[in-house]
Symmetry: C2
Subunit: 513 residues, 2 copies
Amino acid sequence: MKKNTLLKKTIEQVLRGRKLVLVSNRGPVQFDVDAAGRRRWRRGAGGLITALHSVLTTTKALWVAAAMSDEDRLVAREDALIGLPEDDPLYWIYLVDIPPATYDLYYNQISNKVLWFLHHYLFDALRQPSFDKEVKRAWSEGYVDVNRRFAEKVAAITQDDPRPIVLIQDYHLYLVAGWLRQLKPDALLFHFVHVPWCSPDYFKFLPSEIRQKILESLLANDIVGLHSWRYARNFMHCCQDFLGCRIDLRHHKVFVGDRVVYVKAYPISISVEELTAIADSPEVAEEKIKFMKLKAKYQLIVRIDRAELSKNLIRGFEAYALLLKDHPELRGKIKFLAYAYPTRESLSEYRTYRAAIEAIVERINTEFGDDSWQPVELGIEDNYHRSVAAMSTFDVLLTNPVFDGMNLVAKEASVLNMSDGVIVLSENAGAYEELRDGVLGVNPFDIEDTKNKLYQALTMTPLERGLRANRLREIVERNDVLKWLLHQLKDIEKVSKSSAIYQPREETRDLVN
Amino acid sequence: MKKNTLLKKTIEQVLRGRKLVLVSNRGPVQFDVDAAGRRRWRRGAGGLITALHSVLTTTKALWVAAAMSDEDRLVAREDALIGLPEDDPLYWIYLVDIPPATYDLYYNQISNKVLWFLHHYLFDALRQPSFDKEVKRAWSEGYVDVNRRFAEKVAAITQDDPRPIVLIQDYHLYLVAGWLRQLKPDALLFHFVHVPWCSPDYFKFLPSEIRQKILESLLANDIVGLHSWRYARNFMHCCQDFLGCRIDLRHHKVFVGDRVVYVKAYPISISVEELTAIADSPEVAEEKIKFMKLKAKYQLIVRIDRAELSKNLIRGFEAYALLLKDHPELRGKIKFLAYAYPTRESLSEYRTYRAAIEAIVERINTEFGDDSWQPVELGIEDNYHRSVAAMSTFDVLLTNPVFDGMNLVAKEASVLNMSDGVIVLSENAGAYEELRDGVLGVNPFDIEDTKNKLYQALTMTPLERGLRANRLREIVERNDVLKWLLHQLKDIEKVSKSSAIYQPREETRDLVN
């Protein structure tokens, strides 16, 4: 509670009557109609939504997000003021009306099929990407169009404030600042990128007109935030290589004409309070019973992910199979609980991946299991209470993404686990930079290494497990999501005070044309 | 001739009686036996061999290379002094005896399947690499072993000189300097990397023990040379990130304890003299006749590559198919001559790739061709005279590698072409940095862009073609391979003068254990 008071005070101090606008693809709620035809809403999921929610509940902000459901689009068209919670609104929601076909181009074809792959080094250079007319159409008629709609919506709802503070989120909305800077020259624009920023060599995969537009538009912000200094360094090098900007790595600055853009790392975290409250709920308690029963018989290896290409589930299973092969004494004594909730199944790559996951689990269970023991339990469905229960009880958590902006699961698990569980974490997750002294780091491409780390974790002395678990809990509790927000707010305040009023110059006017 | 005299003088000045040793995987000659059982040798091919050859013909150097054929291995075991040319030796060859199975691990499994893919961003992160026991065995029993053999051979043949100058070439031999530094602490070691150096994020694909060993060993050199400042920057960042070294990007320095390692860009080039001589040969003249006949009927698009994954042949053909689709008026008026000589066919990836090349050519010829006109002529065999003739006569040269250390074809074509031909060159080739003002740059992943550039090249005014062709010829003539060598030699001289005698410290002693 003390922390929340501090946050509230800081926000008031920063705002001084200015409007605060949050802009993200996915909003905090989604609308639909019940059987009786009445409109209702449910809260969205995801780490980002949860993190941002804490800002909103402390101030009367505006949240701009894409209309996704049919009912969302109706809400968007009504242009009604929707405050939430309904009885005593803490923030207001504005939905951007986007035709479903346009949304598909913007969300599936560009954001998830091109930009997500780019940011996570997932391209297979020999075969993809291959940019043709279709992709370029998806860019101009989808991504560019939707980003413009977002910018126009933000401008429309801040007509009475020439200097709103606008927090734009993630890789779906790179062009918002470019448009918005023209519409609201004196706004404070802050774009947060939640994915890894790739090196200039890899950014070169993008068609030149696309990479120029993304970088130019991002540099229309006052601050660009990322989760790690490595990502910030990569971003600044892209500005240097592709726009010829002068950069100052040490002071986090990119120079654009007579303007300065700050590029800084703010590692996102979790709300320890909220998470602990959920962990104490009866729903989670009930799920825990199952895991406690299993723990009586087996050491539990747990993983909790979206069934996402970048999460590297296959190599995780391959490492587990090696473990059972090289250490037959472990058979019948350990169990791998793999919970991977479905994601992006409108893309064929993800459907193929899910099938591959199911196939390898089947293979391992057939090869090593018998009637009395199944080495892997796979659960492909979204069940948050079960996830929280599993994170509270694991002996070993495996989270080995090929690349990952942050990886909040590792942070949640650090706080939740009550068994001095050991975390095996990919060194390519943003979280590794903070947690390296407590986790067992692993190269996600090295299944021999992964196998060895799993074995080390399973056979670690209780003393070492305890020391590591305490270290991890301390690190995460000291750096929770409030700190993440406070750091950003403090920098917003500094920039607000120091920066002259923004003067768009001829070149920057044309940024996103 | 004047240039060669200069080179000879510079080399003598640099050497001052010290031995010069060249170390590369492939040597300048290969031995076999003729039908009568007599030993004979033939000169090796490849741009690197040609470039290095010019050094050797100006001084009495030693060249250490791997024994590849059975007869090579016999030569290696005889330990005989082999000078070439035999009647009046200009340099001496020492072959390193390597068991064929060990050579396979070193050459195919690690150098070409892991390191080549790494340097050219060719991994498909979802599926490969996957480092298991087999790969690790190939590393320790193949790559490490062969590199040690090379280092020991160099030490053995320089016993009478405590301060030889050793020029180590390319990605096959990263560990030579590490061993050699222990055996010859006062040698001047210079490693040249002929592939792109990837960014730290991508270098992280390698298992940690492998990447450490590679970087530590490379830093046992006095100078590390690469083809472009981007590669040098990436390399220095790797030293910073993985070894914690202090770096000075501006002055090309990496600090390792009390030593300084220079990391510099020396863009390799071609020998204009030698190339012109070949172009004037009767063999090439004969080949040219064919192309002149074709030119009377068609505008000629030419490509000349190894059938190498990184050369991006498939997307080149896709762009050509788009060209024929979008510009039907060109059908019957242009012809694509694609010469792709076979390479690395012991790796399944390359056999699959070759089949894919043949399939898409077949598809294009079926879809757009008829009895009177075949849109593509594919030649998959090594025919250097034909290549030189084609480079002399093309209207458009397409060379669109996904990534390429330098791309000497673009430089050869710039000098050879007599038709003011236009070069469409990938912006991800090292050569693009030098040639950008004369070529049409293209994003290799963007087939729409590639198609447009091909069209622009085919329809360019004679005036512009002439201007561009002149510009290219000037750039390459001004920066030929002698300049490349002279720059390296001058830096060797500077380092020799300034550096204190190398003192191996405890940590560095253990570099490659």
